[in-house]
Symmetry: C2
Subunit: 347 residues, 2 copies
């Protein structure tokens, strides 16, 4: 593969999690054997990667090649179509790594009609980057990742509800990174009342995700720590019409039915492109059973908690047959000091 196309994909990965409902995209403009412009889509509503790279290249784009992680857009969205900009800049060759199957029209044809050579150079690792983007965009729901921190025997806490701390500091740091890569973090009122967590991203220059709380019955203590860091919006979903708060950053969203489906659809409408679920066994299991979980990230601490089945992260009333239990594909496994991180995709 071309090193430049690889750079474009690397740029895309750098902005993963900060582009909301838009895909993370990187672009590199090359002319006469050197890079003359680089770009990445930094935020939904901002310039696309191609536009940034071409703006940086200025007149050096003329006769050059643009490498893009994703097929350039052909439509007027928040910004004008990138294909127009590419044509206007005098680019001779466009090389991209992944086809955008959600595009309303054929960008290749538009570019070719303008005399530009177009090459779709398929890259499996870039494909991975956009896999869920296409699916969830069509469904109008966010990409949902469920995070679980547990013991080797699958427990999020002891039967007595003790969970501080099962996993280690390296996991904590990795979770900060994970939060940074998501637009919002969702948890339940039960977990909040029990653990009083803050759900922040304590990394250098880290972005704090919007905090989403499921409080169906509205049983929520507004004195908790999460309500004290008021720089980040907090959205509370509830079926309790009486629930209200005068905390500035808190927004109460009343739904008749706080089902997973209703919540994820509403979150997408509100601009959430990537949602991280960090909750106790009840909400975790609900998400894992739903059709709206794309990724599962498990952090295992090398200990066994035992007790009975309480706080096992996946708990169901129904006993599945082994042929029908939820299946995953292992994407990555990594040691975080003495803990193990598994990244999985729902099959």
């Amino acid at each position: 593969m071309s090193q430049y196309l690889n750079y474009a994909i690397q740029l895309a990965k750098m902005v993963e999690g900060q582009t909301g409902k838009n895909p993370p995209v990187g672009a590199v403009v090359v002319n006469d054997g050197r890079i003359v412009g680089i770009g990445a889509h930094l935020k939904k509503g901002d310039k696309h990667a191609e536009v940034q790279a071409l703006d940086m290249a200025q007149e050096h784009a003329k006769g050059g090649t643009i490498y893009i992680s994703l097929e350039p857009c052909t439509h007027f969205g928040s910004t004008p179509p990138c294909v127009n900009k590419i044509i206007d800049a005098g680019i001779e060759t466009v090389i991209y790594a992944v086809k955008d199957t959600t595009l309303p029209s054929n960008g290749d044809e538009i570019l070719q009609q303008a005399g530009i050579r177009v090459e779709f150079r398929h890259q499996p690792d870039a494909e991975e980057l956009y896999k869920y983007f296409f699916i969830t965009k069509r469904q109008s729901v966010p990409i949902v990742s469920v995070k679980v921190a547990c013991s080797l025997d699958g427990k999020q806490a002891t039967d007595a509800g003790k969970s501080k701390w099962i996993t280690n500091k390296a996991v904590k740091k990795d979770v900060f990174q994970l939060r940074h890569q998501h637009d919002a973090v969702l948890t339940g009122s039960g977990t909040l009342n029990a653990d009083n967590p803050q759900y922040t991203t304590r990394i250098e220059e880290g972005k704090n995700p919007i905090k989403v709380i499921l409080a169906n019955s509205g049983n929520l203590n507004f004195e908790l720590d999460i309500f004290k860091n008021t720089n980040t919006p907090i959205w509370i979903y509830t079926q309790n019409e009486k629930l209200s708060s005068n905390i500035e950053q808190v927004k109460i969203i009343h739904l008749e039915n706080c089902s997973i489906e209703n919540i994820v659809k509403d979150l997408y409408q509100k601009g959430i492109g990537r949602l991280l679920v960090e909750a106790g066994p009840t909400i975790t299991s609900e998400f894992l059973l739903s059709n709206y979980t794309n990724e599962l990230v498990i952090y295992y601490a090398p200990k066994i908690i035992g007790g009975s089945g309480d706080y096992q992260f996946f708990h169901t009333d129904h006993i599945f047959d082994l042929s029908e239990v939820p299946q995953f594909e292992i994407v990555n496994s990594q040691m975080l000091e003495q803990n193990i991180k598994l990244e999985l995709r729902k099959k």
Copy 2:
């Protein structure tokens, strides 16, 4: 480190699991820049690695160097002391990777008094190889590994008891290798009655471990498959004095108390140096709670079984505080196609 010392350690690893209560040892004799003899301890009672290598080297050992994974022995056991053989062979230099702390006398001194240069060249990876050998030899118990195959949520079966097949074929193959590396495999009568497994080692030229069955109450069906492959000894531990069998390979061992401690001590007396526990949650949990588990090998299949807490691999009546739950050190993590193998050591 020396390539020759590395070869000696590699030889030792090749025979791991076939030396019973003896440690696996490898030796390489080098003279004038080339290997003139190689050896490994193949079986308890057989020649030690040094003797084999020196026998192979014959007169070429004279003036040469012997590289050994473990300090040579100084005592008459099943065979004469290796230090005598080394002196007699005319070796000039002895280099070994690990000190044998169970030796009755100082081998270095004996060799040095005979004019031989002795070097202890510490190798951490060889140290790992013998870590439990020293501890368990002093306690007169086997090195015990507990194997668990489970879902991501720590279940060995569905609540309905279905466990065929949670893990994949690559795990099955790896388990054959694991069995091959142990002198005996232990399971419970409950698992046998439920799953009817065979506990064989279906690998090329594989060694079938002795099968050990815990049947405290003596509730055992002798029509099961395990009793049909009669080439391998089957030892049944029971508290039921009436239990008997006329199957040739079956040996019934009556103990007043079939505790984990009594069983592992008896197994060591009977020559078992490495024991693999492959059982259901009850026996697995008993071993994990005991002081006699050294290693834990978990195979995770990328699925979540759910249900209630039944068949969770670690199940205890007592609710531990997080500060007192059993802790492990992760030694290795490995993908076996789409399953994960974790090798852990009890802390």
